[in-house]
Symmetry: C2
Subunit: 325 residues, 2 copies
Amino acid sequence: MKDVAHHAGVSTATVSRVLNGHATPTPETRARVLAAIEELGYRPNALARSLRTTSTKTFGLLISDLVNPFFAEIARAVEEEARAHGYCVVLANADESAEQQATYVRALLDRRVDGLLVCPATDDPSWLDEVIASDVPLVLLDRTVQGATCPVVRADGAQALADLAQCLIRAGHRRIGVIAGPADTSTGRERLEQFSAALGGLAVDVVHGDFRRASGARAAAELMDLPERPSVLVAMDNLMGLGALEELRRLGLVVPADVGLAVYDDQPWFPLLDPPITVIAQPTVEMGHAAARSLLALIAGEQPSDVQLNARLIERGSCGEVDRG
Amino acid sequence: MKDVAHHAGVSTATVSRVLNGHATPTPETRARVLAAIEELGYRPNALARSLRTTSTKTFGLLISDLVNPFFAEIARAVEEEARAHGYCVVLANADESAEQQATYVRALLDRRVDGLLVCPATDDPSWLDEVIASDVPLVLLDRTVQGATCPVVRADGAQALADLAQCLIRAGHRRIGVIAGPADTSTGRERLEQFSAALGGLAVDVVHGDFRRASGARAAAELMDLPERPSVLVAMDNLMGLGALEELRRLGLVVPADVGLAVYDDQPWFPLLDPPITVIAQPTVEMGHAAARSLLALIAGEQPSDVQLNARLIERGSCGEVDRG
DNA sequence: CGACGACGAGTAATCGATTACCGGCGCAGT
DNA sequence: ACTGCGCCGGTAATCGATTACTCGTCGTCG
């Protein structure tokens, strides 16, 4: 920058003013400076600028599991919306681990991100204090944490789960196996509760997984090994649904003849299976956009309210009809 | 930091020395400083540190399309390896657009990333100059660019494509439709060339897509609309494969009875389709890891060589047998 | 007992920007 | 012609670290 100033015969202050579009510099001074910048191929050092202005134009996005296409899609949407507003996104992947998450929160705060988007891996709220202490705007995505006082963006699956319950009951299912998410995540608990509630008195067999593929397979195996087999499985996450499908295939069980299957969270390939899988679709992209917008609002000093976007049931035929003998 | 120094009754220099594990400070001084840090909840400002040390412990990762699970997986692997070495990853998504890519390269350089991993959206090498001028270590991932003098990490599909060609010929296919990638990407060109070469003299019908879903559908429609229909389609990317599958479904065509299908780049759901899809699997995770490691080596001043990891054919039965009447 | 070496810790320059404050110049009013 | 007001642009402090250089002190050796 000193070089540019010298080259243009002005001071660094003037260069800075030109760079930041201040009204002060004369058109010709401005031109000289711009020419010097061009000639020297000068690029301002964003670090120095950020140090001075305390703004990095960067968001931190902490995802609980990037292998999960649901989160990958969210990451994409967040990045898209952020970019549209001139922000970069630093991506961090907690791999569903609480410690990793805490480590990353710290790393992102240290890098002075202007805002933080977090899909909490667990309910453990310890990391929250650090964020609050640092005064960095925070938005929670997909999952909540107890005691969080920040905006939350998530999908509301209550209605969709109720619809699914209806649909299963109507199809004659009476033994339902649920592959639930971890009990220490809000989505893990809520989906199970809402689904159970919608079934009225009907009991379900529940096995908890961890929102990952292998756990879906294990859970499916366990459920199909019960003395009284479920006639349909409900996987509360696309990866566990994938694992369940693989396990059913391995066991030689045919969907929906031997056992039905429904999955929470749609993926493009579900309709291509035979039979196409009945799912609850989440508005992934909208969630990512909404979260980024909430964060921008927070940064602008507004008080964005929570966002709840509706998930919805898409019946495709993988739940079958039970023979009422 | 001044507060900490004052609180511990030392100078900022000493605080800094404690923080950076220098040998100098006495154990008791060290203890006093650490106590003060703890008490005040002090966290060092990474920006200031980076400004001084010219190291951000951050990689920039420029992906050509984050919707593509292939790249999402790569991103995950890169992030994983980077984290293992104490680096963060700033993620940028070019959406297969050259301008976007150039913009992002600049943004990442301005943020003084310690290294850059790029999956080039196109062959356009204009952005390369800026990177070279900035002296930031660069590694190319998945795709090359002409005139690039940096390490490249990619999958070598020649053998797998030759195997696929053999497999199709043996199955009796004589009219092969290829849904190729864009001609202005190295992967787009190479896969097509290598496949054609392996077919010997046999001509193929080629439609170029853009590595995205919709283009796969369009290409499939176009190919199936030819006067002499191909008996098998080869999609050179998983998203185009997905699009093709959707289009074939829409047209009421059954795989492999009406038309066979093979896809470049495996995805976990391909084996679940009926029939399971024959694919060429790429070592995605290894590519991500290798790329991050190459970058680390570059930063360490070494001269890592290019990495070529073998893709391999996985026959699953979606290519069928042609009736030899 | 004096001097020198070693080591711990402080002073201050520096990284590359932003910006409050101030000086100088030109123009207008009386 | 002199004063005053504006406006352009320079000087220098500042953001929060790192680190070369220096100083003071203590221990040891001759």
